[in-house]
């Protein structure tokens, strides 16, 4: 009975647009869904360092090298704030990381595609960070305070990443024939996976209804995807880049860009672990974790010794 009353109060708070804070009462399902979603978001930031990190040592000039290094560093920072936000819900970072490494927890499937050329660094900034911004701008308004604040902070940096990414794209698009070819091929590879970043279409999205009910999500996957397409198509046109979709056309009546059918088989296959890079990404994370074990143990042992020393 008590819980039903609390639940009713909780729902009134959501309805009034109040922000839920860590010490507030919350239904168990709300907590669970948030932990799943925030930790998945954190894992995506961390795994996302790998495809871009792949080009830090080969960035073509000093300015680009510093910008890319700073970007990947930002992504690590995003991972940290998000793990902290999830920790306010009573899970610790270590257990979340273990869930990632055991394959129990998911991360954004976009990072299971390879970065084959330097152009991919521009395209990831433009399309992948661009899609993330559309999603995270919504999440910055989510009902859970720490998550909404983390997203606000993250969005500010993602906007910068997107700007830098687009600048690389524009430079290559206006460059030599080889650079133009490189950038168009990269866009051809990343366009559809970027659209898949918004998740399954609304009717097939198992978590969406619940997340919407809890005001964690405010817009549907399809709405966000449409917003992204509408924003991005004119940006491509501005630099004479095309998207690999013969059905892409502007609908004068709705004012939206219509696009072709996403290959949902590919989407589900990659989510289940069978994309081009799933194994490699997980192996790289596991290796970093294993190779770093003795370092973490040393830091812990040293901190303990110092603590004992202080107490005596």
């Amino acid at each position: 009975m008590e819980d039903e009353k609390k639940l009713a109060e909780f729902q009134t708070r959501l309805k009034n647009g109040e922000s839920i804070e860590p010490k507030d009462w919350m239904p168990e399902r709300y907590r669970k869904q948030l932990v799943r979603m925030i930790s998945q978001h954190a894992h995506s930031e961390i795994v996302g360092m790998l495809p871009e990190g792949n080009w830090i040592t080969r960035a073509p000039n000093l300015r680009r090298k510093m910008a890319l290094l700073a970007k990947v560093q930002d992504e690590a920072g995003h991972g940290l704030y998000l793990y902290s936000a999830a920790e306010t819900l009573g899970v610790d970072r270590e257990s979340m990381i273990n869930d990632l490494l055991s394959g129990k927890a998911k991360y954004s499937s976009i990072f299971n595609y390879p970065t084959l050329t330097w152009a991919d660094i521009g395209v990831i900034g433009w399309l992948v960070d661009g899609a993330a911004i559309v999603n995270q701008t919504m999440l910055a308004k989510s009902s859970y305070g720490p998550y909404s604040r983390a997203n606000l902070r993250i969005c500010r940096e993602e906007n910068f990443h997107k700007k830098q990414g687009y600048e690389i794209v524009a430079t290559l698009a206006n460059g030599t024939d080889a650079q133009r070819k490189m950038i168009q091929e990269s866009v051809n590879r990343w366009w559809w996976p970027s659209l898949m970043m918004f998740g399954p279409t609304d009717k097939d999205s198992p978590n969406s209804a619940e997340l919407t009910k809890w005001k964690v999500k405010i817009h549907s996957n399809d709405d966000l995807r449409q917003r992204f397409v509408d924003l991005t198509v004119p940006q491509a046109k501005a630099v004479n880049i095309t998207f690999p979709d013969p059905d892409l056309k502007f609908n004068e009546e709705t004012g939206h860009w219509e696009f072709g059918e996403i290959d949902w088989n590919e989407f589900y296959r990659v989510i289940k672990g069978y994309g081009p890079m799933n194994r490699e990404r997980m192996n790289a994370r596991k290796k970093a974790h294993e190779d770093g074990r003795w370092v973490r143990e040393a830091a812990e042992a040293y901190a303990k010794k110092k603590k004992v020393l202080h107490e005596n």
Partner: protein, 258 residues
């Protein structure tokens, strides 16, 4: 802008390149950790220090470029020279064999660069003093970071102690190039443009030895041979591979802008 004669300009060009190359190659090595560090906090710290180093390199390359008779830009100097034209100490190019190697390499470098930039910041040549002063603030933080890790690893577990000992033993022979006081450097020193870096060896030992001792690391005996040659373009085998990777795009597409 100070006026220098042709000979001094050439000496300065090579001298400044030495600093820039040290910082770039070290920064490059650190950046290899990004995404693969033992904890996320270290992914961030390594990237941060790498960024400082590459930023410093950029500033010194820009200054070096003003003395280049071939009119190369900072990027040309970084991306279009061969390994035999690189003037970094061999320590900076040593690989990230494990985290202990990275930390030992960093600590040995920081322990030189803090007093070095302190002195460089006093140069009578303003254009050289300014980036030295800016870099000093950064390397002080780097030294704090590397010193803390030396203590943690040395006085952590048995495994971490033995890994650090191994790194120190292997890298010790690369720790003297910083202090080489060649005739060309001496000429610049006499003009009050650059410090006497040979005088910094004592300071380096004052920083390094007590920390290693506190970290329960046995100080290696001085070997019969200390590595030398980096300042004249002679390197270990590692640098060629590093540059092949770093320079691949500008060299593959010579007419492209990025």
């Amino acid at each position: 802008m100070a006026e220098f004669d042709v000979k001094t300009r050439e000496l300065l060009f090579n001298y400044i390149l030495g600093i820039a190359d040290d910082r770039l190659i070290l920064g490059h090595r650190l950046s290899e950790w990004c995404g693969h560090a033992p904890i996320i906090e270290e992914d961030i710290a390594m990237a941060n220090i790498a960024l400082d180093c590459i930023g410093e390199a950029d500033a010194f390359y820009k200054l070096a470029a003003t003395f280049d008779t071939e009119g190369r830009s900072a990027d040309d100097l970084a991306f279009l020279r061969d390994s035999t034209e690189f003037r970094n100490v061999q320590l900076s190019e040593q690989p990230n064999t494990d985290f202990a190697w990275t930390i030992a390499r960093q600590f040995f470098t920081d322990a030189f660069y803090v007093p070095f930039f302190e002195e460089l910041a006093k140069s009578s040549y303003e254009e050289l003093a300014a980036p030295g002063a800016k870099a000093l603030k950064e390397v002080k933080y780097h030294l704090r970071h590397s010193r803390e890790w030396i203590l943690r690893l040395g006085d952590g577990t048995e495994e971490s102690n033995s890994r650090l000992q191994d790194a120190v033993d292997n890298l010790w022979m690369y720790t003297r190039e910083f202090f080489e006081f060649s005739d060309s450097v001496k000429l610049l020193y006499e003009l009050d443009i650059v410090p006497d870096n040979s005088a910094l060896l004592e300071k380096w030992k004052e920083t390094v030895l007590p920390v290693l001792k506190d970290a329960l690391i046995t100080i290696p005996e001085d070997p019969p041979y200390f590595a030398t040659g980096g300042r004249n373009g002679l390197h270990t085998e590692h640098l060629g591979h590093l540059l092949a990777e770093m320079q691949v795009l500008p060299r593959t597409y010579p007419d492209a802008k990025w």
